[in-house]
Symmetry: C2
Subunit: 424 residues, 2 copies
């Protein structure tokens, strides 16, 4: 079947034929006109907000994956399987954390389409951070989301057979390939897809290619990404995949979901907070303001996310072992069990920081940028901020095993911010 994007009237007809969707859109199942707005970013998918024209509090989001890269067109084929991964992950994560995952009303495997909750009063976190908004609950929400999703997909919770079946079912070749290339490989090469801002010193780029400890660390993280099937990940958990308001936090767009290393999701989030932190030196001064208070707030969020994640993850782990009477390490005195838990979390923090470093570097020199960096109009200031991001990322990667708590990371970030030198 040749793929054709819906016309508005065809989409309205389609949605009207699905009882679960009608129940969301119409009052008492009474037909009404629908306003349909296409709001996708035009890269991969078609995304529509569908609203009852007479009762605008009734709305849904429709997301459809065409069998090609929308940005390029039918000449760049892309499997629609990504919608299966997204729907499966939304359902799994939604079952674990209903308060942080949009509700799925309807999924159509043949049309590569999902109808889900419209987050009408939320905005993309990245935009909020650029505007300097403080969300009082977001960090604790994300700590909770990460602890529940990462723990419950792993061998610490699932029976070995169930976990292996879940792992096998989540193999996501196409989208993992994008990450393997764009996050872990191309940024360290002289690759045609890289985009360097004009004033970024050549020495900073050379260092990414030639500094052995950094290349070894980045390759370690690539190896872990490709081999360490620890839990079901979101797989693309940057601040553009999170929607927030003062009360609520939702994680969207898990089409990159697969069984991978736990630190990858946490690291993606911390990386994006650090990018917001360093770029704040521009955005925080636009109106003659002082960026420092918000920068400290951003670091506090990283601390709250790691420490909150760690505390909740450990609680889930202890409670599960206490309830089931089975320990991952086998029966042991409490002291021994706790020693392993502490050991496990140190290793997980090191992984997290390594992935955070890779995620920062790809946003500076790789193809896909982030708005908080690209919107800095002053080329010199942008390059200075980019150099700081690269320096911090390098330290996270190379020193990841030595950074034994998240406070060390905040010290590192503050020191890097004060460093006025550039690569020479």
């Amino acid at each position: 079947m040749e793929f054709e994007a819906f016309t508005a009237s065809a989409l309205a007809d389609y949605l009207g034929g699905i009882a679960d969707v009608r129940a969301r859109l119409f009052e008492d199942d009474a037909p009404a006109d629908l306003d349909i707005a296409e709001v996708g970013d035009g890269n991969l998918n078609y995304v529509y907000i569908v609203t009852n024209a007479k009762a605008r509090e009734h709305s849904v989001v429709v997301k459809q994956a065409p069998p090609f890269l929308r940005l390029v067109g039918k000449n760049w084929p892309l499997s629609c399987q990504r919608m299966d991964h997204e729907v499966a992950a939304l359902r799994r994560f939604g079952a674990l954390c209903p308060q942080h995952v949009p509700c799925v009303y309807h999924a159509d495997e043949k049309r590569f389409l999902v109808v889900m909750q419209h987050l009408a009063s939320h905005r993309i976190l990245r935009q909020g951070l650029m505007d300097g908004v403080s969300y009082p609950l977001f960090a604790q929400h994300m700590a909770n989301y990460l602890a529940h999703t990462l723990f419950h997909g792993s061998d610490l919770f699932l029976a070995p057979d169930i976990k292996k079946q879940a792992m096998s079912a989540s193999v996501n070749i196409e989208l993992c390939r994008i990450t393997e290339d764009l996050v872990f490989t191309f940024p360290y090469e002289d690759h045609s897809s890289n985009v360097y801002s004009a004033a970024l010193p050549a020495s900073a780029i050379a260092r990414l290619r030639s500094y052995e400890p950094l290349r070894c660390a980045a390759a370690d993280m690539k190896w872990a990404f490709m081999n360490h099937a620890e839990t079901l990940l979101h797989g693309d958990l940057h601040t553009g995949s999170i929607m927030v308001n003062a009360r609520e936090t939702y994680v969207i767009d898990p089409e990159f979901a697969f069984y991978g290393p736990m630190g990858f999701d946490i690291g993606a989030l911390i990386a994006n907070l650090l990018l917001a932190y360093f770029s704040r030196d521009y955005h925080g001064r636009v109106d003659g303001g002082d960026p420092r208070a918000y920068q400290e707030w951003l670091l506090e969020q990283a601390v709250t996310i790691w420490n909150g994640f760690s505390a909740t993850f450990l609680t889930l782990w202890r409670e599960h072992e206490s309830r089931s009477g089975k320990r991952f390490i086998g029966t042991a005195e409490t002291r021994v069990g706790e020693a392993y838990r502490a050991h496990f979390m140190r290793r997980l923090l090191a992984d997290t920081l390594g992935f955070a470093g890779c995620k920062m570097i790809r946003r500076i020199v790789g193809m896909a940028k982030v708005a908080e960096i690209t919107r800095i109009p002053d080329a010199q200031l942008r390059a200075q901020i980019e150099v700081r991001c690269l320096r911090c990322a390098e330290a996270l990667l190379v020193q990841r095993a030595a950074l034994t708590d998240i406070e060390q990371v905040t010290l590192l970030a503050r020191e890097t911010l004060l460093d006025k030198s550039s690569f020479s």
Copy 2:
């Protein structure tokens, strides 16, 4: 279909109906009487040697997996899928290393049966080592086998999509579960399946359960075994899975094959050489002999296996990247690429030694023993040797990241052999 073991005549009829098997058994396809001997160890499978009674150079091995644990009977069900894993692994490893893997003549999925090359002039390596036989080529053969099998299943060689498909196809829930329990969990618990020899000091057993660095290290290895899907492993590569003579070396019985950490196969082999090394203090003195020369030969084999494996693995890696023009880490100066290779091999040696430690410990205190230990009749001497095995294993596990070359392991083994103290 209810499973019934073949009668000799039914098996002869069955084999006579398969052209590829007839070609092996009969000269000019002329029917002849077959001698059929059941030679299985009675634990899991039925194994038959089938020989042309008139031309005994014509023979095959038939291995059949009943849908239960043969040792116990039909009340202990076990999936026959293990034969699918064994056949797939024999074919894959056979394609990579035909000189070290028995040839598959015929596989019957419905009967859970494989007909393969009869290694008529070879014996089980464990038996040969107990008799003090030196095999001049075995270590180099195993180095070669390990390098080719471990390299060619990994992301260093396979395209990411092919590797992920191979990984998913090799999920081996039932037999991995056996390893997860019997190697990585039960030996550290007060578990009913453990078997302790009479004179083993209580302090040695207590240490396995309570010494935190050891428990953390063993749990790390369990985590790696369950999560690190690096390459297609044999999965049970002890010296009972290797058949040798002075000229040839074959690896048999890969029914535990799955995608796991590379160090697991190498570690299993090194562990069994170390068990042979420590137990040599008994077997080498049986006829009033001096065990030391053969003990040194055993350590030399471990050195040759690791160093030979490492050299061949690196050569395969360099040649593949040179041929394909693609590097795992991305394009880089040779110096940088070599730095990563050295880094990768250090990490792999650490993994290898950690797995070796676990494999030694399970053979001392776990359910499944090895003959070189159980056949020591003197309870005190046996316990002394067992304590040395446990001490060496603990050091391998806890110090694995600090043992940066295989010679350090031989020094450790020699020191442990000289240590006359026992746990107190």
